[in-house]
Amino acid sequence: MRKPAHALLLAAPAKVETPERKGFFGLIPPARLHEAIPQTSADAPRAGFLLAALAKTLKAPGAPLLWVREAEVGGEGGELYAPGFAQLGLSLADLILVRARKRADALWAAEQGLKREGALTLLELGARGRDIDLTATRRLALAAESNGATALMMRGDLAGASAPSAAWTRWSIARAPARCAHANEIGPLSMTASLIRDRGGAHHARFFLEWSEDEHALRAEALGGDLAEAFAGGPARAPRLRRA
């Protein structure tokens, strides 16, 4: 579809993109490897939830969603539950769930999932196990970029926040109390996401994220800093998938 000329003018990058201007979803482009790290061990389930919520926007319709979990993760935080997954608005028909006993198997499986354009791989790793080195993340990042598939990886070990990585972005995820809960109404599931690394150029940014059950979508709001306030509450748009 051809865009009208004025749209092209508007879309031209006039100034340096700030993370706030890009918005939360703009910072997580498809066809890349992204990392989420729970801020504390108690935040691991929320980080896992975020990966699933992002699947909504990062996966091409009908493409496979490969969810690779280390066996340890299921014991600690529960096994993936089909009705809960379906309630996120995701298709169970696209889901392939892998339970990996060894970390090497988990990484290998994740790479298999990245072999098709538009596919999405979620990799949920536990707190124990061999460190994920630069080579391992480089393999995933390369597979994602060359095939046009997206990889989201949760590192369960908190030390992973400072580990070297080839990921495009790295986020620190913390659960947050719902802001608008009433009597006998629990309010939307909420969290904060702090950008701690970004190959796209931005350095730091923080977002408040809420899951809207009615819209089956994440709402993102930039936090902190004067600039951020200007964008607070602004609409978050899901990125379009790149087509090769």
Binding site: L66, G78, A82, G84, D94, I96
Partner: protein, 497 residues
């Protein structure tokens, strides 16, 4: 490649000196020969000898004391029929590299059905020679007869100088052989001898009815089986698959990539065979026969039936590469066999994108490690989802419950200590995994009664709970207060995120 026509050809392997060969392999050879004995009542009787001892005049049936007196340097060992049986089975397993149709014929024989296999070796004579050579390399002397029936092949192996009877010529080949070639019980054999019948030919010439009356149905049956007039009852060591393909490798292969090429070549045969039947393969087994050592088998599954040779062979590459060290083929692999273990209707139009991903994952990680999920139309939370190996056809998916369900569910609800201000209400605080959690918000209850078939299951009241840190739990109280129980227990069943 199997042709499985009605015409069968059988090779009978007679391991003439199995017990002695077994001991010789263990280093029990002796300059004056080796003999094994069994206890018969109070006497010790020679049961088996090796070739040296046989040449020196020691023979089975001789009293042990006599043998010792004749040959003081003879090495004597007690017979171990269990060990012999074990070795026979291992040799039979070894023979499966040539054909999947292998029948154990205790105590010292093996039958192979070779109609579809012989051409791979350049004919029956060459195959016969190869079997003898390969068994000989492992220290087992063998006589091998080939004929239309196991019985005829057995008789040739034991009593004939011409070891192959061409198709349809069993009767001619058996005629000059002694009646012992029929494998009659000793009494039956003695009776026939007293009647002046010494060769199988003498029996064939006799009128049927009187013969049957005198010697009994058993002898008649054995004769009919040997001549192909009746089907013998055979139990295969492993039921042979209907569709299989073998490859004998010109020289032993050790590396995964060469083995993969051989597997792909064999897969082309499988592809032809299933295509002719309108089928695809759901489960495929690759057996690797090492020059020495036990065969290794790799089984892979296909979530959507496949039949293109590349697709059939592809999942093996990863397994061969991954398993190469653990297989530890000292001298390489000399033969491979592919078995179509399970077939199903082939659908050319099926979308195979995610099926192939599933197959690749399952081939390396195991069928149980790769799953698909579906919602089931059931109230009990545990029953409301179906988790199955992704290799199975997908289950029908129902709509999920309308009430909120957690993304993660614990395999077993975890017992917690909860304090609830009112008996039917949500808890105020609770202790889970040793940490006390203050409830900030709660939504519920959602009442889920036990399903009618499990009447004894108490009613559950589910709550969505957020604690003061923002963590979200799916909690339930088990049992209706005052009606089902006076001390309801609380559980965490899942986490929302």
């Amino acid at each position: 490649m199997s042709t499985h026509s009605a015409q069968k050809r059988w090779a009978a392997i007679w391991l003439k000196r199995l017990p002695a060969d077994r001991l010789a392999r263990l280093g029990c050879a002796a300059p004056d020969g080796l003999a094994l004995y069994v206890r018969v009542g109070n006497a010790h009787v020679i049961s088996a000898v090796d070739q040296k001892a046989a040449r020196l005049g020691i023979h089975p049936g001789m009293a042990l004391a006599d043998a010792r007196a004749q040959r003081p340097d003879l090495r004597i060992e007690e017979a171990a029929p269990h060990e012999d049986a074990r070795v026979l089975d291992r040799i039979a397993a070894f023979c499966e590299r040539w054909t999947p149709s292998v029948v154990l014929d205790s105590p010292d024989g093996i039958f192979l059905e070779i109609a579809g296999a012989a051409h791979l070796f350049g004919g029956e004579e060459k195959m016969r020679a190869l079997i003898r050579k390969r068994l000989g390399e492992h220290g087992y002397g063998a006589r091998v007869g080939v004929a239309d029936t196991p019985g005829a092949a057995w008789a040739l192996a034991h009593f004939s100088n011409d070891l192959i009877a061409p198709a349809g010529e069993s009767e001619k080949a058996l005629a000059p052989l002694p009646i012992a070639g029929l494998r009659l019980e000793p009494q039956g054999e003695a009776l026939l001898k007293r009647l002046g019948l010494s060769t199988i030919g003498d029996l064939i010439a006799r009128p049927r009815a009187p013969f049957a009356a005198r010697v009994g149905e058993r002898a008649q049956r054995l004769l009919d089986e040997a001549l192909g007039r009746a089907e013998p009852a055979l139990t295969y060591r492993r039921p042979p698959p209907e569709i299989f393909a073998t490859r004998q490798l010109l020289e032993p292969l050790m590396d995964a990539d060469s083995l993969f090429i051989a597997a792909k070549d064999a897969a082309a045969d499988i592809a032809d065979l299933v295509e002719r039947r309108g089928l695809g393969v759901r489960r495929l087994g690759l057996t690797l026969y090492a020059v020495s050592g036990t065969p290794r088998r790799i089984v892979i599954g296909f979530s959507t039936p496949e039949r293109a040779p590349e697709d059939l062979a592809k999942p093996f590459l990863e397994r061969l590469r991954g398993g190469a060290e653990s297989f530890n083929f000292e001298f390489g692999v000399e033969a491979i066999r592919l078995d179509a273990l399970e077939t199903a209707r082939y659908d050319a139009d099926a979308d195979r994108t995610s099926a192939r991903l599933v197959d690749a994952l399952a081939a390396r990680l195991g069928a149980d490690a790769v799953e698909r999920l579906a919602c089931a139309d059931r109230h009990t939370p545990e029953a409301a989802e179906i988790k199955e190996s992704a290799l199975r056809p997908p289950a029908a998916n129902a709509a999920p419950a309308r009430a909120p369900r957690p993304l993660k569910l614990f395999a077993r609800p975890e017992l917690i200590e909860a304090i609830a201000p009112i008996p039917d209400g949500a808890p105020m605080r609770f202790r889970w995994r040793r940490v006390l959690r203050e409830v900030a918000h709660a939504e519920g209850p959602e009442r889920i009664a036990g399903e009618w078939m499990h009447k004894e299951a108490p009613t559950r009241d589910y709550f969505q709970i957020e604690d003061q840190t923002g963590a979200r739990y799916w909690i339930f109280r088990e049992g209706l207060y005052g009606r089902e129980t006076n001390a309801p227990r609380w559980f965490v069943h899942g986490l929302f995120g």
